[in-house]
Amino acid sequence: MAPPQQSQRSPSPSQPSGKGEVSDLKSQLRQLAGSRAPGVDDSKRELFKKVISYMTIGIDVSPLFGEMVMCSAASDIVLKKMCYLYVGNYAKVNPDLALLTINFLQRDCKDEDPMIRGLALRSLCSLRVANLVEYLVGPLGSGLKDSNSYVRMVAVIGVLKLYHISASTCVDAEFPSTLKHLMLNDPDALVVANCLSALQEIWTLEASTAEEAAREREALLSKPVVYYFLNRIKEFSEWAQCLVLELAAKYVPSDSNEIFDIMNLLEDRLQHANGAVVLATTKVFLQLTLSMADVHQQVYERIKAPLLTLVSSGSPEQSYAVLSHLHLLVMRAPYIFSGDYKHFYCQYNEPSYVKKLKLEMLTAVANESNTYEIVTELCEYAANVDIPIARESIRAVGKIALQQYDVNAIVDRLLQFLEMEKDYVTAEALVLVKDLLRKYPQWSQDCIAVVGNISSKNVQEPKAKAALIWMLGEYSQDMQDAPYALESLVENWDEEHSPEVRLHLLTAVMKCFFKKPPETQKALGAALAAGLADYHQDVHDRALFYYRLLQYNVSVAERVVNPPKQAVSVFADTQSSEVKDRIFDEFNSLSVVYQKPSYMFTDKEHRGPFEFSDELGNLSIGAESADTVVPAQSVEANDKDLLLSTTEKEDGRDLGSNGSAYSAPSYSSAATSQSHEELALTNASVLGQAPASSFAIDDLLGLDFPVGGTAAAPPPPPPSLRLNPKAVLDPGTFQQKWRQLPISSSQEYSMSPQGVALLTSPNALLKHMKDISIHCIASGGQSPNFKYFFFAQKAEETSTFLVEYIINTSSAKSQIKIKADDQSSSEAFSTLFQSALSKFGSP
C-alpha cells in the first residue's frame, strides 16, 4: 500500500504536483462511471493506471475515492485489482468512504471464481478501519472453510490482519483455535505455513495478557508439532522452510538420538541454493549440538563448504549476509577456519563492506602456521589505491601482531610501512607501533631506530601524532634528539589543534625531562607555560598539576608521571562474552550483521515470536534440569529454556496469577521484625568480609564529608536495608521488570579458585542466599558460564531488587548486575548482596 506522501518532495517536471491532474481525473472518471459503451473498460484501465502511478509517487489521490469505487463495479478483473489496491491504500484515512466499498467487496467474497473470492477477502481485510471489523468476521469464517486453497491462504492472513485491527473481535470469534486446527490438518502447505506465521504472531502478542496464549505458544515448540512440520518440510516453499527451520532451532530435544534424527533429516537442506534456507539449517545444527562439544565441532566442519559456496555464488549483497555469519563463526572457532584463510582474501572489485568483513576474518584466523601468508597479503592491500581498505589492512596487521607470540616478521613489515612515505600509511603504522611497544617493550630498539627518523612534520593525523609523541617521551633515553624534537613541537603549540596531542606532548616532555634534564629543561618550561595558558580545560589542568607536582617534589613527580611500566598482556576486548553469546543465540538474524544483540536495536514488540524473553530466555539448561521443568508452564513468557526452578516459584505462581505478587502484606509483624533483627546482624557481621571494592565505593561517597587533616570522618554506615524474607515474584513479572528497569549497578570481580568451585554448586548458594532473603528465580548454564537470577523485596514496601549474577569459571570472573525499583537503595542492596556472596563458603 502506498501511503500518501504528498507535499514531501519538490515536484520535478516528470512528476506532476497533483491538484490540477487530480480534478482532471475526477471528471474523466465520472464520465466513464455510468458508461456501458464498448471499449470503456480500456479507457478506465488507462485512467486507473494514472491514478495508481500518482499514488506511487506520493500524490494524494484520495479525493477520487467515490469515483474509483463507482467505476470498479465492472467485471473486468484488471480494473478490480487496481481498485482493490487503491482502496486498500486510502481506506484508513477515509473510513467513511471505505464503508462504500464494503458492499461490493462482500459480494465479491461470494463470487464463484476463487480468485475473485480471495482477492476480495484480502482487500476487505486490508482496509484497516476499526469500525468495519463486524463485516470481516463472516467472510473470514467462510474463507477459512473455502474449498479453494488460495482463498484459505488469504483468509488465514486475513485473520492476522483482523487481529491487528481488533484483537478482541478476532479472539472472540475463536479464529486462533480455527487456525490451529487448520495448521495441523490442511492439505495445502502454504495454508499451513500461513497458519504458523499467524499463530506465532497472535499468541506472542496475546501471551503478555493471557496465560492460555502463552501455553499455546509453548505448544508450538512441542515435539508433535515440531515433528509434524519437520517431516513434511519438503512440501513447503523455500521461504516457509525457513519458518519451519526457525521453529526447529527453538526446539529442545530430549536426547541425543532425537538430535541426530533431526540433523539427518535436515542434512540435504545444506545443499539448497537459497542462502536463507542454508543459514536457517545451520542455526538448527548449531543450536541442537550446543551441549555436545565434539559434534558441535563437526557441525562447523560440515557447514564450512556450503557457506563458502554461498559467499561466492550470490550477489555481493547476498555474500555480505552470509559472510557476516561466517565472521561470527570464525570469531568463535578461528582454528576451524585457519586452513581456509585464502577464502578471505579480498578481490579487487568487491564492495568495501565485503572487504572489511574479510579483513576482520583474516585477523581472526591468523595463527602460527598462516600468519606469514596472511600478513604478506595484507601488506599488498596496504599499498592499495583504495585508501580506507589500505588503512584497515594496516590495522589488521597490527591486530595480528598483538595476538601473536612470535612477532618477529610482523615488526619488520610494520616498520616497512613507516618507510613507504604515504601519509595515511605512516599514520596508521605509528599508532600500531605504539601499541606494539606497549605489549612487547623488548622491540623498542628496532622500532625506535625507525621511528626516530620520522619527522613530526610529516604526521598530521592527531592519533598518529599523539602516538609519535608518546614514543618520543617514553623512549627519550634511546633517542638522541628526542628533547629537540619535542622542543620544536612545543614551539608550534599554538598551531596544534588537537587537545589529545597537546596532552600527550605535556606528558612526553615531562618524561623526557626526567631522563635528560639538562636538554629538556627549556622545552619543559615552554610546555608548562603554554599548557597553563591553554584554553582547553584538560590541558590547562594537566599543566597545572605537573607544575605543582614538580614544585612539591621532583622525585615524587617522576614516580607519578613515569613509573616503571608493565607490558600490557591483553588489550581489552570491546565486546563482553555475554554479548557475543547472545548474538550467537540470535544466529541468522540482523543481530549478526550489526554485531549487537537484538535488544539494542529493536523495540520489544518487534523482537519476533520467541525472542522477547531475551533476558531469561537464552540460558541453556543442563540435562538434569530438564527433568525439573514443570510441564504445565503456566507462567507466562517462560521460554523453552526453562531454568532450574526453585521452590519459591510454586508460591510465586499462586500469588502471581491473581496479580497480587507485590502486595503480600499478610505476614505477622512479629515474624517480620524478628527476621529484621537477624538481617541486621547478618549485615553487621558480613561487612568486615565484604570485597574491598565495595569499600572503595564507600570511600568515594565519603568524599562528601569534609575531610579534616588526618582524622577523616568514618565512612557512613550503609543505610540499613531490610528485606522481606517471604518475597514473591513470578518469572513473568521478573522478566518484565528486568526489561524495563535500568541497570543501577554493574560490577565485575575476580574470584579465587575455591570460590569458583563453591559457586558452581547451585543448591548451596541458593540456600545461602535464601537465608538472607534473597531469592533465586532462575539459574542455569553450562561450564564455564553459569548464570543466576535473584530477586529480593524490601520488608516494609513493595520495592523489588533484581540481580543477574554471571560466573565464568574458566576466567574466574563474576559479574553482578542489579536493577531496582528504588534506585536510591540499590547501593545498599549491592553491598548487602556482595557481602552475602563473600560470606558464602567461608563458614
Binding site: 500461513n194 537459497n274 568487491e350 541468522n588 529493536t602 519476533g608
Partner: protein, 453 residues
Amino acid sequence: MISQFFVLSQRGDSIVFRDYRGDVQNGSTEIFFRKVKFWKEDGQEEAPPVFNVDGVNYFHVKVVGLLFVATTRVNLSPSFALELLQRIARVIKDYLGVLNEDTLRKNFVLVYELLDEVIDFGYVQTTSTEVLKSYVFNEPIVADTSRLPPLEPSAIFAQRAKRMPGIAVTKSVIATEPGGKNREEIFVDVIEKISITFSSSGYILTSEIDGTIQMKSYLTGNPEIRLALNDDLAIGRGQGPIYGAGYRSSSGSGAVILDDCNFHESVRLDSFDVDRTLSLIPPDGEFPVMNYRMTQEFRPPFRINALIEEAGSLKAEVILKICAEFGSSVTANTVKVQMPLPKYTTRVNFELNPGAVGETTDFKEANRKLEWSLKKIVGGSEHTLRAKLTFSQESHGNITKESGPVSMTFTIPMYNVSRLQVKYLQIAKKSRASEPYRWVRYVTQANSYVARI
C-alpha cells in the same frame, strides 16, 4: 516479516512502492535514499546492504542500477530478506522480459499485481514465476527489442553484477510471440566466473571458479528434463582445500573436482551418485540449476606480464603483455586491462603493437589509471602495450610500490575452464511433432583477475 517493499531509480524516485504492514512511517524512501547516497562523507565507501535507521531496518540489493528495498522493524534474517529481494527482481524480469527502469515504469500495475501475491501482510506467499501466472492479468508492455543491444553471447554479461542475470532471451514468460505461437525451447548456460591472483613473479597465488548452470525453459507441459554432467565429476576435496603446491594427481587425470555445490529446489539427485545425472521438472522462468565452486588448479586463459621501470628522474616506462593461452578457435571479447599509476603521473604516451586493430588506450587522470581495451583476443595471440609515463616530481625509489596491481576483465564465449560439461540434455517429450530447441552454452568471465607487480 516485511513492512514495505519499494524500488527506487538511481536518482531516488520511487518507481514502485508497496506498504504491507503500515508500521513504518512515511518518508522511508527518502530516509533510505539519503542514507545510501551519503553513507560516508568522502563517498569512498558504499552503504552496506543492511542498515538500521531509528529502529527501521533497510535491506537493499542493486539490480541493473535500480535499488530494490525492503524495510522491517523485526529482527529478520538478513539472508532471507536479501534473497527475497533478488528473487523478486528475477520474477519481475521473468514477466517483463527485460528489467530496467523504463520497463518497470511502463508495467508498474503488473508489478503491483505480482507484489500483492508474492507478499501478504509481510509474509512471503510465493515467488514461483509459474504459480504467479494464474494471478496475473495485466499484459506486459514489452520493451522495444530493436533498441536493445544485439543478442550476441557477450550481451549476457552486459551487466557488471556479480551474479549475472544471464539473460537467456529477453522475452516475457507470459507474452505471446508475434506469430501467436510460442516457440518450444530451453536454454542451459554454464557460466563460470574465475578469480585469479598472480604474484609479481607470475605464480598463481589463489584461484577459484564460481560456476552456475542456469536454465530458462519455455517448454509447454512441464516435461521432465535430465541433465548429464561429466562422469568423472567428484565433489568435495577432502578436508581443507589445498592450494598452490601439492595438488593431487587429479590435474593430470582430467577428473573435475568441485569443492562444493548446491542445487535448485526442483532438482532431484536420485541417480546423481551413480551417473552424475540431475533430473528436474523445470519451473517457468530463469533459475540456477546448480551453483558450484572449485579451487582445483586450472589453466588460466591469460598470462599477464607487467613491467615498470624508471627511465630518468621524471620518467618511467610500463610494458604490459597479454598472452591468450587458449585454442585459436576461441575468441575472447570485451577485454579491458587496468593499472593504477603513481599519483604524481602527469602524462602518458601509449605505444601499441604495429598493426593492432580494435585496441584503445586511455589515461584516466582523475584516478591515475591506465586503461587498455581490446575488442577481441584470438586464442594463442599476444598483445603488448608500452606506456611512457611522465611524473611531476621525482619518484622516491620504489615506483612498483606506487602502481599496480594490473586487473583484467573479459568474456570468453564457448569456453569453460573447469571442463565441467553438460553431456546431454534429455527432454521427456510426450508425442509432439516438433523437437524443442535446446541451447547449451558455455561462457567464462573474469571476476577478479589480478596480477601484482
